[in-house]
Symmetry: C2
Subunit: 425 residues, 2 copies
């Protein structure tokens, strides 16, 4: 079973908005046994959307999905394009029009906005256009979704038409899956499993040689490796019957790379979060160049308040001294970007918040502020607590944002090493 | 002039890694006068990559680009697929092989990694495979890029083959643009301009009615609107000759929506950052539910250290009291999530960091922690400084991450209002 997704929106095509829907739908469909072969991103041009649908249909997919283009403006044209593509006439659904009108009224009242009544009515009417024979998916925001099968005399996959805002799309997904034409497709889908191994400190080429030797694809495993922020992620997909083959493969890799495989599934963030919770430890951060990114990442997980006490982004030296107790002499002698100050920051975070574990990060994120001795990308990290202290000095390549993100990832690996042992960060 | 982009990588297709290359390339190409019609995301399967290339070529594009699939592992197959697609035989380039080998050696030495010599050599050889007649783009990481024209007897667009890691791709881009087959395409491209208006507080349907009335497309303007985090973004693209038409359109909109248009170009973050710098003001933050996200966002801009003193993520109540001076009585009487505590946080941030402007955020991000009186999504914000105080109480829908992000955006709008006036946040 295969599906294709068309993501519409010039704002997505040009990168002003990242596409969060295609990947989310691909993962949901995988759980349902449907493999997504393509995600096509197109702008708000009817001809381009039609070409994308035709291309995907020509690859023989069993299900087509579109996201976006269901709003009230003139560039929102997905419903009309899909109706034409499936050969079905389109018309206003009067009851749906009333339901959408009520939603828009409530929304405007809540925000205290006013708008021209005629303009609003025209927008509502546009959003209530339904191809004949389509299933309406009730709005989560203001836009209804649709499931549009091909016209009676035609063959081809049904098209599921979903709104662009990710919250609306996700809220509508259960109704889409429950629609009869989608259920009919899913009935034939086998279970498709996915497992992940994560390594830290092995060269991708070395792993490639091992994979060539083990030939996992011979046993029906589909493997992709991905190098991300220094981490090597090995994702394997297989039908349910391939579980024993996968278990043998995973055990073989874990044996050969015992020093670098740090996870047989959970993400780095989950490992750190769960280790803190399991050991009943609290953590606090003191960040200079990363300016709060580590604290934000640690508090991203639900339930973080049980283990994360907080953090101080001490951009100014005065803040490092007064709020984190970094001695002025230390700053003067070694400079703010130094292993000594990283350690003082970590200790300061721990003391000021009364936490078990403290993390300190100081560095030059750039593009300015570098020197011959401490060029852009110089970062010092320190993690203290649980009777241990780990430090790291980095010389990172790349942009300001790359330096900040990699520093935060390295801090997470130091936390992992301190809490769980395993491959050195 | 039109281009099509094929983004390869099962990790991108399944959402484990967001695609940062397609949108970046689309924007770079736009600057060069080339309009990107499609971005197709495919997994690491040769047949799918070939289908995507064929589809894009069939739409009549002048230039094809691929990203990813240039690593040393077996699932890295782009060079071979593109060679086949263009009808060119492929072989190892011995000099390139030596250059890549030296890069890999240096990389491993720097990281202190060891790997099997044969395995490394096999990976290097794979990365040095070049289709006959192709231009080699020197590696920025370990992977070379390619510009592959169609074989002599064929017609069709040249294919620019770029690596997947965004830093490598961006570093290689100038060389790609300078390659003769790409230069030949770009020589025919006209200038294509893009302008943006940003509104806060107007309903999309209302704007849609205005656009229907003004009919900007009649004057050659291509307009897309996008609702994002409550902000309405109106992006217009036009050939250089359309500038007067655009200026009239923008003036008309700015006149009709004087109360809600807050920018004729710069992003919210740039407006706030530039206003702080222009007025010589400093800012500090105190965050509860957003846990450092606002500080991280404020410090994302280069040069932020001149205006951002820092921030405190005070997750625990004890941290709010001890580090930010929020009175225990206030917390007991009103609860941590209250307008009173938001104000005390903002004042605390200002005082503790000695900043001109302080921001306080406190709320229930969920999924736990809500109550009947203060459900998940309840957030209070306060911005104080420059002789003014602005507060906001929000009842936000959506996930933990949606609540956190929207709260931070609202704080940025409050800062904008405080610093620049204009539409109320």
């Amino acid at each position: 079973m295969r599906a294709g997704i068309v993501v519409t929106g010039t704002e997505v095509l040009t990168g002003r908005v990242p596409d969060r829907n295609g990947p989310w739908l691909a993962e949901e469909l995988r759980r349902l046994g449907v493999d997504v072969g393509y995600v096509v991103v197109v702008g708000d041009r009817p001809g381009d959307v039609t070409s994308a649908l035709s291309f995907l249909a020509s690859t023989g997919v069993d299900l087509l999905l579109t996201t976006g283009g269901l709003g009230p403006t003139a560039d929102d044209l997905t419903a009309q394009v899909v109706a034409d593509f499936q050969g079905r006439p389109i018309a206003v659904d009067p009851e749906l029009e009333q339901r959408v009108a009520r939603i828009v009224e409530r929304l405007m009242a809540r925000r205290g906005w006013r708008a021209d009544a005629d303009a609003t009515a025209a927008g509502v009417r546009k959003q209530a256009m339904v191809p004949r024979g389509a299933t309406v998916l009730e709005p989560v925001g203001t836009a209804p979704g649709l499931v549009v099968p091909p016209a009676e005399e035609r063959t081809g996959p049904p098209v599921v038409v979903l709104p662009g805002p990710p919250g609306e799309l996700r809220g509508m997904w259960p109704a889409a899956v429950a629609a009869a034409p989608v259920r009919a497709v899913l009935a034939g889908a086998p279970e498709l499993r996915q497992e992940t191994l994560r390594m830290w400190g092995t060269l991708e080429a070395q792993l490639a040689a091992t994979l060539r030797e083990l030939e996992p694809e011979r046993t029906g495993l589909e493997i992709t490796t991905c190098l991300r922020e220094g981490e090597l992620e090995i994702v394997t997909r297989f039908p349910a019957g391939g579980q024993p083959a996968y278990d043998r493969f995973a055990a073989e890799l874990a044996g050969r790379y015992a020093g670098t495989v740090f996870s047989t599934g959970p993400t780095l963030d989950d490992l750190v979060g769960e280790a803190l919770a399991a050991r009943g430890l609290t953590v606090a951060t003191a960040e200079s160049c990363t300016g709060g990114l580590l604290a934000a990442r640690l508090t991203e997980r639900a339930g973080a308040s049980a283990t994360v006490l907080g953090g101080i982004a001490a951009y100014a030296n005065s803040a490092k001294e007064q709020l984190l107790g970094v001695p002025a002499g230390l700053l003067a002698e070694h400079g703010a970007v130094s292993p000594e100050v990283a350690r003082a920051l970590a200790e300061g975070a721990r003391t000021r918040f009364g936490a078990d574990v403290g993390v300190g990060i100081t560095g030059v994120a750039g593009p300015g502020g570098g020197s011959a001795e401490k060029p852009v990308g110089t970062v010092h990290l320190c993690v203290v607590g649980a009777g241990t202290e780990l430090t790291r000095a980095l010389a990172l390549p790349g942009s300001r944002s790359a330096v900040r993100n990699r520093s935060v990832t390295m801090a997470m690996h130091l936390l992992r090493e301190l809490l769980l042992g395993g491959p050195p960060a």
